[in-house]
Structures are given as C-alpha cells and as structure tokens.
Symmetry: C2
Subunit: 198 residues, 2 copies
C-alpha cells in the first residue's frame, strides 16, 4: 500500500483521534462501587473493561438470539456519556435531569466523530439505553450484575456506604439481571441473602 | 425457563466467577503511561478498555482480512497475565524471564476457568502474543499506538520519565504500528517529530 501523503491531512482520522483522547476522561469518572480488594473506588473506564470480560466469559448465559460481539461493542461505549453527565450511583437519588443530561452528553461526545460513525455509535448507545433488543437486555443484565459481585468480594462496598437494605438491593438489581440472565440472578440471589444475614 | 435449583451448585459458573473477581486485580497494575491529562498513571484495566475503543473507532484502518470483533476479544484479554507478571514498560530493561513469567501467569489465570474456556482464552492470548495472524498484527499495532497518543496529549509522559530519544521511540513503536496500521504510523510519525523538536 502506498504511503499516505502526510501533508494531506486525514480529517476523519483527526476527528477519530480527538474522540479517543477525549474518551480518556472516562478513566477519571469515579463510581460508587469499590474494587474487589476494597482498596479504592472503581472508575467507569475500568468498569467498562471488566464488563466486556464478563460478557466474554459469561456468553453462555445469553439467549441464542444474542450476539456477544454486539453486546461487547455496547459495553465498550455504554458509559462514555458519564464524561459529561457523571456517574449516578444506583442507590443515590436519581436526578430528574439524568436522561436529558446523558442525551446532551451523547450528542457532544459521539459528535466528535466523523458523521457516519457518530450515527452508528449513537445508535448502539441508544439501543443499550432502551434495553429492548436481546443484545441490550443482556448487556443491561451484566451492567447490573457486576457491581454486586464486587460488593460481595469486598465485604459490602456501596451497599454499606449507602446503608441500603436487602430489599432495596433486590429491587434495584434483581429484575434487570433476571430478565437478561436468569441463571446469574439464581447464582447471585442466595449470596445477597447470605450477606444480609438471612 | 425453570428456575435453577440453587442447592445444586453450578461448578462452571463458580469457576467463571472466581476468574472474573481475580481479573479485577488488573485495575491495580500500574503502567508507565500517564492519562491524557497527566493526572496519574494509567492502569492496565482501563488501558485495555481504551484499546477496545481504539479498535472499534479505527476499524477502517484494519485490512479486509481482519475481524475487529476478534481483535476486540484479544484486547480484552491481552494484559491479564500482568496480574502475576506485572507490566514491563516498553522503555525499561526487559527482564530475561518476562516471556516465561507471562506464560506461567497465563497458565494460572486462564486455568481458573472451566477447561474448554481456559483453552479458548489461552489460544486467543497465544495468538496475540505470537503477532502473526492479521487479527493479532492489528491488535499489536493498536497496543503500540495508544501510549504515544497519550504521551502527545499529556506533554511527554513516559518519554520524559524514561528520558528516551526520538530514535528510541521510533525503533520501539514504529515497526509494529506500521506493520498492522500504516496510516496510523503516517499520522503519528510527524507528531513524534514535532514533539522532539525537529
């Protein structure tokens, strides 16, 4: 292949690189969840990586109409809006403006990309948020499943910090996990019960 | 679907969960590269996420025989061995035992999984390390390309910390980037020259 002429700027590549450097800021968005060793809070970039590993490892929990590779693509992108909108802890009061804030963030952040790619990434994020397609339902299950597994490993984590009851944990994470990955909920549910001392 | 009997343990799922919790330790492996805003060093988990985003965003830089989804799977797994073997900065002296240490780490870490999955993940990691297939060549290019883009954003980063010359930067990252993604090297090369003041 011929060497590109570096004096002719590749505007699409420049936009892609601006997006990738801006995305680096996700590493500074701190979540309520702590690492498994409780040493510090998790950030949204490493959380996103961990979720892609959950998807790859637990692929056999997905229904036959789920594409794990599309699930992984969704999970890579799913938290980028937090660069502008911040992370909203699941046990905190949800601000009324959260959905609107995240849509504005998606407009700006995906809008850094060349137009066709901005549209494609935005569509994947919208699909995840809507949680209606089989891929999105499974991706959402994993997003709800991973934090409790860290809380169990580190002795309470965000459950302790937010002083939540077992009922509240179950109502906030149970339905979405069970909808997309019933066996994962069956695995998790007795462990939540044991943690809360039943 | 019938509710699984929680009194009958799912041994495969238990092993997968042990692997996923162990993988959390990658978030504590600190790299030589700093974040784009220079606020701290990057860890290998968030680096892995960032690389998957590079693969998704720069997919049009891959040749027609590259499967981006396989590249992404490789990148999700590629640094897990560092949990045991540590990260070896590219500008530091490479220990003679590095390859052996990483293979021992791969045996242990992938060995936490049920056997068929351990074999599949290990094969993907071996393929990445060998850097011979089109997917692995492209994945390796991205792994070499991302750190310089952070160094350029944060004003020097590991180049400054290791007091490396421009020639050493070029020889350590250029060939592998150019092999798998020549246009990315054409984009990066004049920017390295500008940084080093040519």
């Amino acid at each position: 292949m011929a060497s590109p002429d570096v004096t002719a700027p590749d505007l699409d590549l420049d936009r892609q690189m601006a997006f990738l450097v801006e995305a680096d800021r996700l590493k500074s968005v701190v979540r309520a969840t702590k690492l498994a060793d409780a040493s510090r809070h998790e950030n949204s970039a490493e959380h996103s990586w961990h979720l892609t590993l959950y998807a790859l490892t637990l692929a056999d929990q997905a229904g036959p109409d789920v594409s794990i590779d599309r699930v992984i693509r969704m999970l890579i992108l799913h938290d980028l809006v937090e660069i502008d909108a911040g992370d909203t802890p699941i046990f905190a009061q949800q601000p009324n403006t959260q959905d609107a804030d995240e849509r504005v963030a998606a407009d700006r952040i995906f809008g850094l990309l060349p137009a066709p790619q901005a549209v494609a990434f935005r569509a994947l994020w919208d699909e995840f948020e809507a949680a209606e397609t089989p891929d999105a339902v499974f991706a959402k299950s994993l997003d709800r499943f991973q934090p409790p597994t860290l809380n169990l490993a580190n002795g309470g984590g965000s459950w302790t910090d937010y002083a939540v009851t077992e009922d509240r944990v179950r109502s906030r994470v149970g339905p979405l996990i069970e909808r997309g990955a019933p066996t994962l909920w069956a695995w998790l549910s007795p462990r939540i019960a044991a943690f809360f001392g039943r």
